[in-house]
């Protein structure tokens, strides 16, 4: 038996739950076919979410899932340029023609799909991105020069979340795109995803008792993002997410973390998202998205 999981035509954080629902009870018993034929677009969040699904199935010792590539030549090329297929080939049995194109060099890819598993990977990501980030944040988003360092810090802390808490590796991607419908401006998007422990399991030993009956995915996200709690007893821990929040409050950005069956966001005025979404379809690990919008009058 094969279970078909359809990739939403426009695949981003808003349609992610539709994708997660396709897997049913986790881990699925049947072989999975991720069907991307109808996909017309995917944000970095969507792209690395698909990779996390593949990794989670592998770590659950399930049969290698199948993946059918988008029917659209343009979409296939775009996904290939982000580096998606290079990593997907390791996790999925790919069906369909994958274009042979060089990754990156795109004006709107700040960081292609990049694996993160160790501290050295974070050094690589942060080191590689700074010059392009400076150019993009100031030219494309109209942010002050000092925003660049804060951006790199936020990226570093988001990636370290995988290294420190996931118990497995994950991915990061950073793209620039036009948020026409939601904002009417350009945004830079940092997406970080892993198929690891997730926030609830990571914090359970130290926090479950404190929350009592309320304990679950939502409470774990609240503990981490709002209260700055960490699973480590070290009192200096938990400052990474606090640092990201501080940076985002200055530049009117948004952070959203999905883990297990809940998603918690710090929502700026320009967005109409709900702060907390519970009882979502289960998806393994954690998915973080950070959005930094162009300043008004700064977008090009």
């Amino acid at each position: 038996m094969t279970r078909i999981v359809e990739v939403p035509a426009s695949f981003d954080d808003r349609t992610f739950d539709q994708f997660a629902q396709g897997f049913g009870d986790w881990p699925p018993e049947e072989r999975i076919l991720v069907d991307a034929r109808a996909a017309t677009w995917a944000s970095p969040y969507g792209l690395i979410g698909m990779l996390s699904a593949g990794q989670a199935l592998r770590e659950a010792h399930r049969e290698k899932p199948l993946f059918t590539v988008p029917a659209s030549d343009d979409v296939r090329r775009y996904w290939a340029r982000t580096g998606f297929f290079r990593h997907a080939a390791d996790l999925f049995e790919i069906h369909g023609k994958v274009p042979k194109v060089a990754t990156s060099e795109e004006a709107d890819h700040l960081l292609d799909v990049t694996p993160v598993g160790a501290s050295e990977d974070v050094h690589q990501v942060v080191g590689r991105i700074q010059e392009r980030a400076a150019r993009m944040l100031s030219h494309e988003l109209g942010l002050e020069a000092k925003a660049t360092m804060g951006f790199a810090m936020a990226l570093s802390e988001a990636c370290q979340n995988i290294v420190e808490h996931a118990g497995t590796s994950g991915w990061v991607a950073v793209h620039l795109y036009n948020f026409r419908k939601r904002l009417g401006r350009r945004v830079i998007v940092i997406a970080v995803s892993d198929a690891g422990l997730g926030f609830r399991r990571s914090l359970e030993a130290t926090q479950a008792k404190r929350f009592g009956d309320r304990w679950g995915d939502a409470a774990a996200l609240e503990a981490a993002l709002i209260q700055g709690v960490s699973r480590f007893r070290d009192p200096g821990r938990g400052q990474g997410l606090a640092g990201i929040k501080r940076y985002l409050s200055r530049w009117d950005g948004k952070i959203s973390i999905r883990s297990g069956t809940a998603r918690l966001s710090i929502v700026p005025k320009w967005d109409d998202d709900v702060p907390l979404a519970e009882h979502l379809p289960y998806f393994p690990g954690s998915q973080v998205q950070v959005l930094i919008p162009a300043q008004e009058g700064g977008a090009r």
Binding site: Q130, K146, A152, S156, Q160, A242
Partner: protein, 179 residues
Amino acid sequence: MIQTIPLGRVLQETVSTPYRDLVTRPTGAAVRGWIQKAIAGSTAPTTMLDFTEVGLLDFSCADEIVAKLLLDADPDTDHYVMLLGTREDHTEAIDHVLNHHALAIAVVMGPDEPPQLLGRVTPELVRVFHCVFRLGPGDAGSIADMLGWTLERAADALLTLSLLRLLRAEAGTFHPLTQ
């Protein structure tokens, strides 16, 4: 006597990275270990951490290097730490982590300029700290006279600054760390 430690060089020695960024906790812990050994092997009472060649400093690394260095310091030893060559984004990260732990540190800004205090310090403490920097070593009486405060108020502030290791106390006299 002051020992200066160039953190850019320490990074190259402790972590094999072509980059100049102080990021991640393991990197911060390795750099702190190097600093602690250098402090233990030196007779200088003050160590200056030089950030001049450092690129990015993230919160985790700032916590591992600066905050934990202060937290781990042996209260019985007469040793002090200051910073040098920090950029605005460095000071922001360091200020954030020190506030979290209720710690403070002084940053040397330039010749004849008073050091900037980062972390959890009140405006009152900053005033007294700058007063000692301008006047040189002094006691509660001289600071009270200078600021028009009561002796108790000045003594409290000086004691707090010395407990935070922002001034060096010696037989009732409080010295700037750079002297």
